[in-house]
Structure formats: structure tokens, C-alpha cells
């Protein structure tokens, strides 16, 4: 009988004497760290915590650049972008996971090949920068959108798809026009169509999550987005600070923001990559708002 609701993944569990949530690894014996602005800090998964995913187990090892070490049961499997594989046992077999739209993915700089690993045996994954492993247990019917290149590994019950972000703006420098995609051309969408699954993401730095109410909006730097519920809408917002000349085409002439519209959950990571805005004349964009101070 469920006696505990994980405040991070919201799973309802019979916890027994466990000190971490068996679904997402969040420690149960620490209080929630919520900032005054309402961001809930993801508690780092304690070293050597175990996550249950079907008959398989994932153990999180390390603290700076944590490793996700799966002990796959016979017949269970996971898929991943092949550059995150750290080590595997001989008994774990690898094969490619077919993806639709390979040519478009090549042009968008997304991985063309996802690799599947099948049990029995151990296989481990890690990323290339200090940060946190974010575990998202997906219940049937749930879907999350993840910014490209932040996906670490998912169990085979999780469906993978991708879609165009539809967020862009164009700049002109003389006769040359350039199109920019602050969030990337595509985003990954992970869902659990029939059975529960486990999705692991990699957040550079620290990860923070909050719930947006219906109609509530929030501005974040586009590259800071980690994931969002599929129901959260996005658009661009351009802001011009006071004290700059409109004709002064410098980087500081404008800020490019991502506006998120609730309802739904959104998460950001703190060590986000810098988005290079050339600062040239803005000549067009996807539907966006703007403000000049």
C-alpha cells in the first residue's frame, strides 16, 4: 500500500526502509529546497542509489559526472546515443535502433543512430561535463519534451520521437540573411504509450524544476531549457535594454528569451551553453513578443 508520494517524480510508493525513491532516486530524508522564486532544486541522486525499472536495476555512481550503471535483466533493454556509452559486459548485445527521417536528422546535427543494448548484463553510461543525472519515470500516457543532446538513456518501453521547435529568427547583414534556431531545429519527445518506462537525462550543472499554472508564463534563456511537459507552449521574446541605440548593432542590443506558457512542468539546468546571437538586424521571426525598455 502506498505510504509515500515522491515530491520529485510524484510516484506513489510503499517505501519501507528505503532512503531514496526507487523510481527516480531522489532522497526521501531531505527537505525540499525551493527558492524564493519557486524553483525546486533537484536533489542530487545519492551515490550508489538504485532505481528500479521493470526487472532491471539502474545504479547511479559518482557525484561530479555520475555514471548510470544498468543491470539489465534477460529480455530487457535500453537505448542511447552511442557517444554516452562508458563500458559494457560481454553478455550485453548492441544493435542499432532504426530512426525515421535520418537525412533531416543529419542536417539538424542530431544523432542519426541510436543504439540499443539488450540484457542480460551490465552496461554503463556517462556524459562529458559535470552535472546531474535526472531520472524521469514515465507512466503510461505521459510525455516530455527534451532539448536536443541532453538525453542520456531510456528503457525500451519509452517511445522516442522528435519534432520541429518552430522557433527561429532571421538576421540580415548587407545582402546576406541568416536563420537562427535558439532552441535548435528539433526537440526530442519521449512518451510511455503502453507501459511505464524510465528516462534518464543529463543536466549540466544543477537542475531546477517548477510547475507553471494555466496561463502562467516564464522567460528563460533558450539553451537553459532541460525538459518540459508536452503541454507547455513556447515562443520567442526579444527584449531591448535601455541605453543602447537601435542602430548600434552589437551583441548587447537585444536579448533573446524563450517564453514558456503553462500549464505544465518545466526544468532548467544551470550550466547552459551560450547561444551566439550575431546582433545583426532582425528581419523576421516565428511568432514572438518583444519589449523595449
Amino acid at each position: 500500500m502506498a505510504n509515500y508520494t515522491c515530491r520529485w517524480c510524484r510516484s506513489q510508493l510503499d517505501l519501507g526502509d528505503q532512503v531514496t525513491c526507487p523510481m527516480c532516486g531522489a532522497p526521501v530524508d531531505v527537505r525540499a529546497e525551493v527558492t524564493r522564486s519557486g524553483w525546486c532544486e533537484l536533489p542530487p541522486i545519492p551515490d550508489l542509489a538504485r532505481l528500479q525499472c521493470g526487472r532491471s536495476v539502474c545504479q547511479i555512481e559518482g557525484t561530479f559526472v555520475p555514471v548510470a550503471d544498468f543491470n539489465l535483466a534477460p529480455g530487457d533493454g535500453v537505448y542511447f546515443a552511442h557517444h554516452v556509452l562508458l563500458w559494457r559486459e560481454d553478455s550485453v548485445s548492441l544493435s542499432p535502433l532504426p530512426l525515421r527521417g535520418a537525412l533531416k536528422r543529419v542536417f539538424a546535427g542530431m544523432p542519426v543512430v541510436m543504439t540499443q543494448a539488450h540484457g542480460p548484463g551490465h552496461v554503463a553510461f556517462s556524459h562529458d561535463s559535470p552535472g546531474e543525472v535526472v531520472a524521469l519515470p514515465l507512466q503510461p500516457g505521459m510525455a516530455v519534451d527534451v532539448r536536443e543532446h541532453l538525453f542520456l538513456v531510456a528503457t525500451l518501453g519509452v517511445a522516442y520521437d522528435w519534432f520541429q521547435t518552430g522557433l527561429w529568427f532571421q538576421t540580415a547583414d548587407g545582402d546576406e540573411q541568416e536563420t537562427h534556431y535558439p532552441l535548435g531545429v528539433y526537440m526530442d519527445r519521449f512518451s510511455a504509450p503502453r507501459e511505464p518506462g524510465l528516462l534518464l537525462l543529463y543536466a549540466a550543472g544543477n537542475a531546477f524544476v517548477r510547475d507553471l499554472g494555466p496561463g502562467e508564463t516564464l522567460l528563460i534563456k533558450p539553451t537553459a531549457l532541460l525538459y518540459k511537459d508536452a503541454g507547455v507552449r513556447m515562443q520567442l521574446h526579444f527584449e531591448r535594454p535601455a541605453g543602447t541605440w537601435r542602430t548600434w548593432r552589437t551583441w548587447g542590443e537585444r536579448y533573446v528569451w524563450l517564453r514558456l506558457h503553462g500549464p505544465g512542468r518545466v526544468a532548467v539546468h544551470s550550466a547552459y551553453g551560450r547561444f551566439e546571437d550575431p546582433g545583426s538586424n532582425l528581419v523576421g521571426s516565428s511568432p514572438a513578443t518583444s519589449w523595449s525598455w
Partner: protein, 270 residues
């Protein structure tokens, strides 16, 4: 001292006096349990901030936790060697020189450090790397040999011999992720100290004779000289687009293997 009351360090196997909380030889905490994953990897011991340990007549203090610094107080007559870009600061009085190395041209062509610097005691000198990670302290017993990924070694004491081994096999060189050479450290007639810096977290496991494990080549950090390495390519075909290959290094026991979890390739200047 009563032998039964001594505390054996689980990392370096040195004996420590009763009541000690850190190992006097490698700095590993003695009062915390080993962190071993279900799959058998042991986490390198987390050296506490300001931990101090001895080698020869000198001492080393570890400072910081995100990008730790190894600060060495050299006794008169002791010396350490290192690649010059890892030096953080030193006392004015510490004399510097370079270690003569065989095969300088080969090393330059292979992108290995052409010059190994030497600092002579007495005085203080400190070392650190360029990304977050962990210090791995490996006291070497006489006769012990360890192979280390190039540019991963931070500093070694004078009693440790330094050479390099050429990686055998074109495939191992091209796809092994380590270039043509690995550093080899050998303790001669007396115990020595070798300190590495691993990016991210560092894990170690001991392979039995004939036992093997497949690693992402970029994650390899160190191994006992008795462990052999072979690169294997796995083809992942995707039909129309041909697919891609994945190179994995098969490490075959007996001996220890150390890996780092953040295996991005960091360029270093020789």
C-alpha cells in the same frame, strides 16, 4: 604496536596506527565504507579537503574538492616531476630543472610531453588540472608497474621511474583514444608516489586472470602493466546511410583497471 589494532587502508593496503582517520600513505579516509557498485566498480576514495599524507621525507596536502590541488612540501633532497602545464604555484626557492627523456623526437611527434619538469626540495609547490575531477593517489611498491593514459599523470615522486610504452597494433593506435604511447611508471628499489587526475569520477576494478571488460577508449585512465588492451570495432548498420562503428577497448586481466566518467578529450599543450 599491536598488529591486531592496525588499520589497513582498503585503497593502498598500507598499515596505519589505531585511531587514524586518513591513510598516512595515500590520504584515503579510513572511517568510511568502500563505495562499490553492484557491477563491481570501486569508487576512488574521496580525499577530504586538507587531507595530508607522506612520501619519503615530504608531505602532500590535498586542497579543494571540485578541481583539487596537490600541494607538496618537499624535504631537502626530495624531488618530484610533472608536465609543466599542471604547475599551479611554487615557492621562489624551489629550483626547477628538466628531466632528460629518451626518444624525444618520437614523443614530440606523438604529441606527448617533450619536456618533463623537475622541482627539487626544500620548499612548496602545487599542482592542479584544468577540469573538475578527482585526484587518484597511487603509492607504488618496489617493482610495481602502472600504465597511465597520456597527459593524465599529475605528479610523481623521484623514486618512481618514468618511461613510456608504445601501444601495439595500428587499430589500437588509431581507435584506442590514447594515441601511440602510454606513460609507464615503475617503482624501483623503494616505494614511490604517483598522483593522477581523473576527469569526473574515477572508478577501479580488479580483473581476474583472463577476465575482460569493454570500455569506451576515452574513459581509460590507468591499468596495471599486466592488463592487456585490444580495441574492438562494433559495426552498427543503418541500411541506407551505412551506419557507424563503435570502438571499444577490451581490457583483459589480471590486474587493476581505472576509468574516468567524464571522458571528453581535453587538449593539452606540450
Amino acid at each position: 604496536m599491536d598488529v591486531g589494532t592496525r588499520i589497513e587502508c582498503q585503497w593502498c593496503k598500507s598499515q596505519n596506527p589505531p585511531g587514524a582517520s586518513t591513510c598516512a600513505t595515500c590520504g584515503a579516509p579510513l572511517n568510511v565504507r568502500n563505495l562499490v557498485s553492484d557491477s563491481g566498480w570501486r569508487e576512488a576514495p574521496r580525499l577530504r579537503d586538507m587531507t595530508e599524507f607522506r612520501f619519503g621525507q615530504s608531505t602532500c596536502q590535498v586542497e579543494g574538492e571540485i578541481v583539487p590541488v596537490a600541494e607538496i612540501t618537499l624535504a631537502p633532497g626530495d624531488w618530484v616531476y610533472f608536465e609543466h602545464h599542471v604547475m599551479l604555484w611554487k615557492d621562489d626557492s624551489v629550483p626547477m630543472s628538466v628531466m632528460p627523456l629518451p626518444g624525444g623526437v618520437k614523443r614530440a611527434l606523438a604529441g606527448m610531453p617533450f619536456v618533463i619538469s623537475v622541482a627539487q626540495g626544500p620548499g612548496r609547490i602545487a599542482f592542479s588540472r584544468d577540469a573538475s575531477g578527482e585526484l587518484v593517489v597511487l603509492p607504488l611498491l618496489p617493482g610495481q608497474e602502472i600504465d597511465v593514459r597520456e597527459h593524465a599523470f599529475l605528479v610523481a615522486s623521484h623514486s618512481v621511474g618514468y618511461s613510456y610504452v608504445r601501444i601495439k597494433g595500428l587499430k589500437n593506435i588509431l581507435f584506442g583514444g590514447q594515441g601511440m604511447f602510454m606513460d609507464r611508471f615503475v617503482a624501483g628499489g623503494q616505494q614511490g608516489l604517483l598522483i593522477l587526475h581523473g576527469y569526473g569520477n574515477v572508478f577501479e576494478r580488479t580483473l581476474g586472470p583472463g577476465e575482460s571488460i569493454l570500455l569506451e577508449p576515452g574513459s581509460f585512465l590507468y591499468k596495471d602493466a599486466s592488463v592487456t588492451m585490444q580495441v574492438e570495432t562494433q559495426r552498427l548498420s543503418t541500411g541506407l546511410f551505412g551506419g557507424t562503428g563503435m570502438n571499444l577497448a577490451r581490457m583483459i586481466g589480471p590486474g587493476r583497471v581505472g576509468i574516468q566518467s567524464m571522458y571528453v578529450h581535453h587538449h593539452t599543450e606540450g
